[in-house]
């Protein structure tokens, strides 16, 4: 067949395909961008222009409802808002940080490793976790006789510095000879949780590779008594600075005996 003939039979295809496809496009645009929002907006008491802008996404909100208004006041569990700017400030260990840390030695130990097992170790804890807790003490989200006052004496910048300082200190050494005999039941709780009670695995947030929230603290190498007391505090609602009640909803399902064993587990087991 000659090229001219070919072009001849091709022409109507080219034209009609384009016409049909562009008409369908035009129809959907008219319907979705104009007709629907105008009709929906009228029912919701919006003027046509606002409704169209909302439908297209230039103005926020839905074209079908008035923006809901509410008198409710939020009562955040914490004042901490994570941002990349904040995250970026962590990581540089400074002299200032070391100096502030001197004020903590009495209770949290020489290198962030507390002598009294009632007090938490800070060495090797993540900077984000330390930052959040100090900030929460300062704002009143978490309350403690001593720590509230101490935190209130620190400026935001100092909190960052001291958090970075402790985060980069070496963790408490564990003595392999005192490591507990493997406690199968607790390992199951840590790794699998207990679906029959709707209890998630601790590892799904606290685990090494877990995608838990940024502020999730490291539990391994922490002190037994401190861990147990915190779990009890979450369980009884005495501590309530965990966003979305993440920890309270877990702790409330644990028995006292499980709390003891979990605390022992994290305080003594090497590999978690």
């Amino acid at each position: 067949m000659k090229p001219a003939e070919l072009r001849e039979i091709d022409r109507p295809w080219r034209i009609w395909a384009s016409v049909i496809i562009v008409s369908i496009l035009a129809f959907s645009v008219v319907f979705g961008f104009l007709v629907l929002p105008i009709v929906q907006g009228r029912a919701a008491g919006l003027d046509a222009f606002t409704a169209i802008c909302r439908a297209v996404g230039i103005l926020p909100g839905s074209p079908a409802v008035k923006q809901p208004t509410s008198e409710a006041k939020a009562q955040p569990t914490t004042q901490v808002a994570w941002s990349t700017d904040l995250m970026r400030t962590f990581g540089r260990r400074t002299q200032a940080g070391a100096e502030i840390a001197q004020g903590c030695v009495a209770c949290h130990g020489e290198h962030g490793i507390a002598a009294d097992p009632q007090n938490p170790n800070l060495a090797g804890q993540s900077a984000a976790a330390i930052y959040k807790q100090l900030h929460d003490y300062k704002s009143g989200s978490r309350v403690h006789d001593v720590m509230t006052g101490i935190a209130q004496g620190l400026e935001d910048r100092q909190i960052v510095e001291v958090a970075t300082h402790f985060a980069s200190s070496a963790r408490r050494d564990l003595d392999p000879t005192t490591a507990e005999v493997v406690d199968e039941d607790v390992i199951r709780l840590v790794e699998r949780g207990d679906p029959s009670r709707g209890l998630p695995a601790c590892n799904s947030c606290h685990g090494f590779n877990a995608g838990g929230p940024i502020e999730t603290p490291t539990l391994s190498h922490q002190n037994r008594e401190y861990l147990a007391r915190q779990l009890q505090a979450f369980k009884t609602d005495a501590r309530r600075n965990d966003i979305y009640t993440r920890m309270r909803s877990v702790a409330v399902k644990l028995t006292d005996r499980e709390i003891e064993r979990l605390a022992t587990f994290y305080a003594t087991t090497l590999s978690y």
Binding site: S28, A64, P195
Partner: protein, 548 residues
């Protein structure tokens, strides 16, 4: 044009398809374990981490490795057999193959080392180890080489045969290559500009609205990339296997063109419940989604008509007598029947998913997982089996004694898929979440789900049996007594009116690419641009190994 010799494609196709089916067999084992994990029966090795590792491996193997290697291998086969000429540049084909192998291996090692539990979708701020993504990028680059070779082969044929229509099987294969090039643009942009930098730690935050939008660009069209081999078999192989002719060659060409056009500007139907896109663009893409039903309806009509021709030629009478007269003992015919049956259910489910209001009910429930297992694992994969059975004789020059075990394997797959997915759909309607490892069966509401999950598990076990039998059946070809190639029946069907001259529009893709561009600009232009115009909040990246 009947059977033609396979030259380069013989080893290429065998290599690609064996990789595809090996990945498939491993993934089938993982699939059964996953269903077991979700059931009330205690499953071994179950932790949250092992579950998500497994689902990541299963999803990646099934959705990326099985499919990509299958499409590529089958494409090489079609390029030689349908065009009747050797594949140009076979060295590049092998390069693509090895890129795919290296990439798949890299991804697999990363997953099984526990450094990628992000599932097969790329939804930050969760990220995996960068090697997971780099491996997948290599697979995609390998497949781009395939796309280039398919286009090249078609253009070569046209140059050598001016005015001669490109055979339908090849036209459709090239349609899929063009579709794939368009499809991968979205995910490639997401990976290169957002996710890989985040996974390496070069970015601290990521705009998840943009990444979800870019992924949606790919997410629907990729499904059609997986599906098209099945449709190629429906149009070009099933009528021949049934002893009939293709009712209309033009319908075939239109179908593949419509798939190319309307599988792309529609991905936002995966974002109906997302806040970052506005209602007008969701509406626009929803209305295009509705048009995707058109090529499927065209196909049901055309293939039913083609099979009716075959049935009547074989002496079938009356309204339905032709159905009974079809040669159901032939695997290709049997598989086509089963695939159509599953397509009814799967297609119905799809209509529900694409409707904004009903989508809200099924979003993120097991309904969705059940739906794509039925349509993708069912309709599509059963045709992969049929294609393998149809082309293996020409690849090995051998024929096993009887197709009895092949039929058994297809029946097991069909029954297993129905048994697994129907209760799974129901569970989704009951509110069962997808992507969840374990359920609290002591909760009185959830307790009622238990028996149905066990039924699904039984379906899964039947599927696993079928998967293993499939591999066994293919191995039988390699050990069967050799037969002479000329004994083999031709594979591709002739049309009732074989095309003598077709307009350029139905013989190439220039026009359609322009129209796709127009539609994509309309559907995705502003929805993507808004992220650069409006100052959008970003999420902090979660990296694997981020905390210890």
């Amino acid at each position: 044009m009947g059977e033609r010799a396979v030259t380069h494609a013989r080893r290429l196709t065998l290599a690609h398809l064996w990789v595809a089916f090996a990945a498939f067999a491993v993934a089938a084992v993982l699939g059964v374990w996953q269903m077991w994990a979700r059931s009330p029966l205690p499953a071994p090795y179950l932790t949250a981490e092992s579950y998500f590792t497994s689902v990541t491996a299963h999803g990646v193997s099934m959705a990326y490795v099985l499919t990509t290697f299958m499409v590529m291998g089958f494409g090489y086969y079609v390029a030689e057999t349908a065009l009747g000429r050797p594949l140009p540049l076979p060295r590049f084909a092998w390069l693509g193959f090895w890129l795919g192998i290296i990439g798949s291996a890299m991804t697999a090692v990363t997953i099984f080392a526990g450094n990628a539990t992000v599932l097969f979708t790329f939804y930050p701020p969760l990220t995996a180890s960068p090697f997971f993504y780099i491996g997948l990028v290599l697979v995609v680059v390998g497949s781009w080489i395939w796309c280039g070779l398919m286009l090249w082969a078609m253009l070569d044929f046209k140059r050598a045969n001016p005015g001669v229509p490109v055979p339908l099987a090849m036209f459709a294969t090239v349609a899929n290559a063009v579709l794939w090039l368009w499809t991968t643009v979205g995910v490639a942009a997401e990976l290169l500009f957002q996710i890989i930098p985040a996974a390496f730690g070069w970015n601290e935050s990521v705009d998840v609205g943009l990444s979800r939008t870019l992924f949606s660009w790919t997410l629907h069209a990729i499904v059609y990339f997986w599906l098209l081999p099945a449709y190629i078999a429906f149009y070009t192989m099933a009528p021949q296997a049934a002893g009939g002719r293709l009712y209309s060659d033009t319908m075939g060409r239109l179908t593949f063109i419509l798939f190319l056009i309307y599988s792309l500007p529609v991905g936002m139907h995966h974002l109906f419940m997302d806040p970052q896109q506005s209602s007008a663009f969701k509406f626009l893409q929803m209305s295009f989604t509705a048009l995707v039903a058109a090529p499927t309806l065209l196909t049901v009509f055309t293939i039913s008509a083609s099979l009716e021709i075959a049935g009547r030629l074989r002496g079938g009478k009356g309204y339905f007598g032709w159905i009974a007269a079809l040669p159901w003992e032939r695997p290709m015919v049997l598989a086509t029947g089963m695939a159509f049956f599953m397509l009814w259910f799967g297609g119905g489910g799809g209509l529900i998913n694409m409707s904004f209001g009903m989508n809200a009910m099924v979003h993120n429930t097991s309904w969705v997982t059940a739906h794509f297992h039925l349509i993708f694992g069912g309709t599509v994969v059963i045709m992969y089996f049929a294609i393998a059975y149809a082309i293996w004789p020409t690849l090995t020059n051998r024929l096993p004694m009887s197709p009895r075990l092949q039929r058994l394997q297809l029946w097991l797959w069909f029954i297993g898929m129905m048994v697994m997915t129907l209760p799974w759909h129901y569970l989704g309607l009951q509110g069962q979440w997808r992507r969840v490892a374990t359920f609290n069966y002591s909760d009185p509401i959830i307790a009622g789900w238990g028996p149905w999950v066990i039924v699904s598990l039984v379906g899964g076990i039947i599927l696993l049996a079928s998967a293993l039998l499939f591999v066994w059946n293919l191995l039988q070809f390699h050990s069967a007594r050799a037969v002479v190639a000329t004994d083999l029946r031709p594979i591709y069907a002739l049309a009732v009116h074989p095309p003598e001259r077709v307009p350029a529009a139905l013989n190439g893709f220039a026009l359609w690419n322009v129209l796709v561009l127009v539609l994509m600009v309309a559907a995705y232009g502003y929805p993507i641009a808004q992220f650069f115009i409006i100052d959008a909040p970003e999420a902090i990246v979660h990296r694997v190994n981020g905390r210890g």
